[in-house]
Amino acid sequence: MVVQRLAARRAVQVENWEEAARAAGALLVELGCATPNYVERMSALVREQGPYMVLAPGLALLHARPEDGGLAPGLAVITLAQPVSFGHPENDPVDLILAFASPNAQDHLDLLARLARALQNGLDLQLRQSESESEMLERLHTALESHVCF
């Protein structure tokens, strides 16, 4: 599988988690993977359901439901110039945001399974240490293509 719909931004300036979510979501829209409504729903889910999406120290995985405007499977990654708080009791503050979209409940499974393995193997640190956006993208491509899961 070749993961084509990837985007990355480095050291993004935001004031709070909602701005961070919008910045990551805007990349999904640019990629053609999500509608603006999908991006709104990403933040709404955090407000409605609490900050469980902060699934490891410093790392949030944001998404909405396919029916909220998911158009194609894709992944956007941003690192933050200053970490923000999501209100998670243990995993705050967050400096790495991963946002994904999917058009249905299946098409993102392979992408996320690969992402999980890559994160276990230190992709989060590699992304934080990248010195350019092209380096982030290269590391993403390498990590996601080399972890065969299913």
């Binding site: 609490g50 998404h63 276990q120 899961c149």
Partner: protein
């Protein structure tokens, strides 16, 4: 490692059942494999798990608080990428309820 319940049926749970729970499923599967525990892991959302007949539920503490009344072993996990931490939590809780055949 042998269990009195074999294979173990584990649900990884999050609010929507698409993202965080899928990441957690991968880590739990790796943890089980390394422990030599036969198990089946499925990811699902908070409402689905209420009607699923599972042995173990793994989720963020935020969610496990809501799931405490269910007839399943509930294991809170804060870091979904921490395979070693999840291995320790699994063994500790499975031993507590006597599911590990000594």
């Amino acid at each position: 490692m042998r269990l009195t319940r074999d294979p173990l049926y584990i649900a990884t749970v999050c609010g929507v059942g698409m993202g965080s729970s899928l990441i957690l499923k991968m880590t739990v599967e790796d943890a089980l494999r390394e422990l030599g525990i036969p198990g089946r892991v499925e990811h699902m959302d908070l409402s689905s798990v209420r009607s699923a007949r599972v042995d173990v539920i793994v989720a963020q503490p935020l969610h496990t608080e809501e799931l405490k009344g269910l007839n399943a072993l509930v294991i809170p996990v804060t870091n979904f990428l921490d395979k070693e931490g999840i291995k320790r939590a699994l063994v500790t809780r499975l031993r507590e309820v006597g599911w590990i055949a000594e």
